[in-house]
C-alpha cells in the first residue's frame, strides 16, 4: 500500500520535473512525450523536434539523475542509521563528503578545465574518506564498536576539511567553482546518468537485501549475536553498500545535504520502523524528493538556478519539522 503510494508520488514528481523549466511547453504534450519514451509505447505528442530535444537532452536526464541521486542518498542514510543505530547518522557521517570535497578541490585547482575528472575524483575521495575512517575506527578503539567508528568519521572529516580549506586559500579564484560543486548540481546530462547507474543498482540491491538483517541489528549486537547473527559482518556489508551509494551520488551531484537524514525519518514516522519497509520507501521517497527539489531550484528564480543543496535544506528542514509535529500529535 505504502509502496504503491510512494511510486505514484515518484511518477507524479517526475512528470512535474519534466514540466517545469525556463522554456514554455504545454503540460499535456510533455505527458504524451513522456509516455512515448516508455518502451513499446508510441504516442504522437505533437512537439517540435527542438522541444523534443530540449526535453530529451536536458530535462529528462536531469530528472533521472535527480531521482537516482536522491534515492541513493536516502537509502544510504537509512542504511547508516541502521548500522549505527543512530537516527542522526547520515550518508556523509564517515568522511565521504570531506574526502570527496578534498579530491574535487584538488582536481579543480590542478586541472584547468576538468570535465570528466570531477566525478572520478569525488568518487575516489568519498571511498577514500570512508576507508580512512573505517581503518582508524577499527585500530583506535575496540573492533567493531560503532561509537569509535563515528568518532573516527568526525576526526577524518575535520582533518580532510582542513586540508581542503588550506588548498582553497591558495586558489581563491577557483572558490566559485568549488563552492558550486559543494552545493550540488544534478544537471550533468546523460553522461552522468550512465555513470551513476551501475553503482546505484549494485548498492541499492545490496542494501535492500539487508533489510531483515538491519532489523536484527536494531535490537543491539548482543541480542543479534544471540539470534545467531554475526553483527560485525552484517555491519561491514551494509557500510560498504551505503558508502558505495554515497560515493556514486557525490560523484555526479556534489554534496546534497539533508536528503539522507530527512527521508528515512519521514518514512519511519509514516510507515513504521522495519528496515524492510524503510529501505525501499527511502529509495523511492528520496528520488521523488530530489526531483521536486530540483524543480524548485530551476524555477524559483528562473532563468537563473538555485543550487539544489540549498533547496533541499531550505525546504527539507521545515518539512521535517512539520512531519515530526504531525506524527507526534497522532501518536499521543
Amino acid at each position: 500500500m505504502w509502496m504503491a503510494g510512494a511510486l505514484g508520488v515518484l511518477a507524479v514528481s517526475m512528470v512535474a520535473g519534466l514540466l517545469g523549466g525556463a522554456a514554455d511547453i504545454s503540460p499535456w504534450q510533455v505527458v504524451l512525450q513522456a509516455v512515448d519514451w516508455l518502451p513499446f509505447v508510441h504516442v504522437d505528442s505533437g512537439l517540435a523536434p527542438v522541444e523534443q530535444g530540449l526535453l530529451f537532452e536536458l530535462r529528462l536526464p536531469r530528472v533521472l539523475v535527480a531521482a537516482v541521486v536522491g534515492g541513493l542518498l536516502a537509502i544510504a542514510g537509512a542504511g547508516y542509521q541502521g548500522v549505527f543505530r543512530n537516527p542522526l547518522a547520515d550518508p556523509y557521517l564517515l568522511g565521504a563528503a570531506a574526502g570527496a570535497g578534498l579530491t574535487t578541490t584538488v582536481v579543480i585547482v590542478l586541472v584547468p578545465t576538468p570535465v570528466v575528472g570531477i566525478p572520478v575524483a569525488a568518487f575516489v575521495g568519498a571511498v577514500g574518506g570512508v576507508f580512512l575512517a573505517y581503518v582508524l575506527g577499527n585500530t583506535a578503539g575496540r573492533a567493531g564498536g560503532t561509537a569509535t567508528l563515528v568518532l573516527a568519521g568526525v576526526a577524518v572529516t575535520s582533518f580532510l576539511t582542513a586540508i581542503q580549506t588550506f588548498i582553497q586559500q591558495f586558489k581563491v579564484e577557483e572558490l566559485q567553482r568549488i563552492y558550486s560543486w559543494i552545493l550540488g548540481d544534478v544537471g550533468g546530462g546523460w553522461d552522468q546518468f550512465w555513470l551513476v547507474l551501475p553503482y546505484a543498482v549494485v548498492s541499492s540491491v545490496l542494501l535492500l537485501a539487508h533489510g531483515r538483517m538491519l532489523d536484527v541489528l536494531s535490537v543491539g549486537d548482543e541480542e543479534a549475536t544471540s539470534l545467531g547473527v554475526r553483527a560485525g559482518r552484517v555491519r561491514l556489508a551494509v557500510l560498504l553498500a551505503a558508502s558505495l551509494a554515497t560515493a556514486a551520488a557525490v560523484a555526479v551531484s556534489g554534496l546534497i545535504g539533508f536528503v539522507g537524514i530527512v527521508i528515512p525519518h519521514v518514512v519511519r514516522r509514516l510507515a513504521g520502523g522495519s528496515y524492510r519497509i524503510v529501505l525501499p520507501l527511502s529509495l523511492i521517497g528520496g528520488a521523488a524528493f530530489l526531483v521536486l527539489a530540483d524543480l524548485i531550484a530551476r524555477t524559483v528564480i528562473a532563468p537563473a538556478e538555485l543550487p539544489i543543496g540549498v533547496v533541499t535544506m531550505f525546504v527539507g528542514a521545515p518539512f521535517f519539522v512539520a512531519i515530526l509535529r504531525m506524527t507526534r500529535q497522532t501518536a499521543t
Binding site: R212, M213, G220, G228, G273, S274
Partner: protein, 323 residues
C-alpha cells in the same frame, strides 16, 4: 494473524498454558516441524560449515539430560575479572535461578553461556561444545533475553517477535510461511495476538516483557536464558511473567536459567539456585540449601530472617536494625 482474535474469544477465560494444547501449536509438533525447516535451510545453503549439521544431527534433536554445562568459566571485562572459574550444570527441564548481590557477575554468566561475551572455559549446550557450534545452531538451542532489551520504538510487535525466527532464515532470505505461523502462534499463546500491529514504543512494562518473551519463544530453542525478567515490573506483573515462564517450561519441557534479584521469588520458582558473589560461585543447591540466613547474610551483607513460605519454600525477610 487475523483469525487469532476469534480463537481467543472461543477459548474464553482459559489461561494461555491450556490454550496451546487445543490449538495446532503443540510444542512437540512445532519443535519437529522446526527440525524440518532447519534441514531445508541447511540444504539450501552450501557453505562448508554446513556439513556437520546435515543428516540426523539437528541441534534440537536428541537432547541430553544435561542441557547446559559450563566448566571453569572466566570472563574479563577490560582489566577486571568479573567471573572466576564458575561451574554450571543445568538439567533438561530444570529451572535454575542465578542469585547474588549487585556486580556479582550474574548477567555476565548468562552472556558467557550465550556466547555474547568473550570468555575462558568450556560451555556445552545440548551436549555439544559451544565453540564448535555455528552461531545459528547455537541460537536454535538457546534463546536469550537481556535485562534491558532494546526495543526499537517504531517496530511492530509482530516484526519484533519474528526476529526470533532469525536462526532459521537464510542470511539474505525471507521468512517462510512456517516462520510466520510459529510467530503468530507464539503471540497468540502469550495473549499478544491483538497487539501484533502495535508499535513497541506504545507498550506498557508488562506487555514489553511478554513481547521479549515471545521473541525468545519464537526461537523454539529448548533452553531459555532470561536476565532479570521481572525488572521494573510491579508485584502482579512479576508474578504474571514468572507464572508464564513456569507454564511454558512445563508444557514445552524447556530448560530455564534466570537471574533474579528478588531472593524470595527465586526461591519460589526455581528448582535450584546458584549463588554468585564476587564473580565466584559460592553456593548451589535447592532453595532451602542456598537461602540460609548465614549465606544470604554473608554474601549480601544484609540482616535477614528466613521462614518457610508457600510450598515449604524459603521466604527471605529483611530485619530492621535496632541501633
Amino acid at each position: 494473524m487475523t483469525g487469532d482474535s476469534a480463537d481467543r474469544h472461543m477459548t474464553g477465560g482459559t489461561d494461555p498454558a491450556d490454550r496451546h494444547v487445543t490449538g495446532a501449536t503443540d510444542p512437540a509438533d512445532s519443535r519437529m516441524t522446526g527440525t524440518d525447516s532447519a534441514d531445508r535451510h541447511v540444504t539450501g545453503t552450501t557453505g562448508p560449515a554446513d556439513r556437520h549439521t546435515t543428516g540426523a544431527t539437528d541441534p534440537a534433536a536428541a537432547l541430553p539430560a544435561r542441557m547446559i554445562e559450563a566448566s571453569a568459566l572466566s570472563v574479563w571485562l577490560g582489566e577486571r575479572e568479573v567471573l572466576t572459574e564458575v561451574d554450571l550444570s543445568v538439567r533438561r527441564g530444570e529451572w535454575l535461578a542465578i542469585i547474588g548481590p549487585n556486580g556479582a557477575g550474574k548477567s555476565t554468566l548468562l552472556k558467557a553461556v550465550m556466547g555474547v561475551v568473550a570468555h575462558r572455559g568450556d560451555v556445552t549446550v545440548g551436549g555439544r561444545a559451544a565453540s564448535t557450534l555455528r552461531p545459528r545452531d547455537r541460537a536454535r538451542l538457546v534463546a536469550y533475553a537481556p535485562q534491558t532489551p532494546s526495543l526499537p520504538p517504531d517496530m511492530t510487535v509482530y516484526d519484533y517477535a519474528l526476529l526470533g525466527r532469525t536462526p532459521y532464515i537464510p542470511y539474505l532470505g525471507r521468512e517462510s510461511r512456517h516462520d510466520r505461523e510459529v510467530t503468530g502462534s507464539v503471540l497468540e499463546r502469550l495473549d499478544l495476538a491483538e497487539f501484533a500491529e502495535r508499535r513497541l514504543g506504545e507498550l506498557s512494562g508488562g506487555e514489553r516483557q511478554r513481547v521479549v518473551l515471545a521473541r525468545a519463544l519464537a526461537q523454539q530453542a529448548p533452553a531459555l536464558l532470561l536476565d532479570e525478567p521481572t525488572t521494573a515490573l510491579d508485584l502482579g506483573h512479576q508474578q504474571q511473567v514468572l507464572e508464564l515462564v513456569d507454564r511454558l517450561r512445563l508444557a514445552d519441557e524447556l530448560t530455564v536459567v534466570t537471574t533474579l534479584h528478588d531472593l524470595t521469588l527465586a526461591g519460589q520458582y526455581a528448582d535450584r539456585l546458584l549463588l554468585l558473589a564476587g564473580g565466584r560461585a559460592v553456593a548451589a543447591g535447592q532453595p532451602g540449601q542456598v537461602l540460609t540466613e548465614a549465606l544470604v547474610g554473608t554474601h549480601f551483607d544484609a540482616r535477614v530472617e528466613i521462614s518457610l513460605g508457600p510450598g515449604g519454600r524459603p521466604v527471605v525477610h529483611l530485619v530492621r536494625g535496632v541501633s
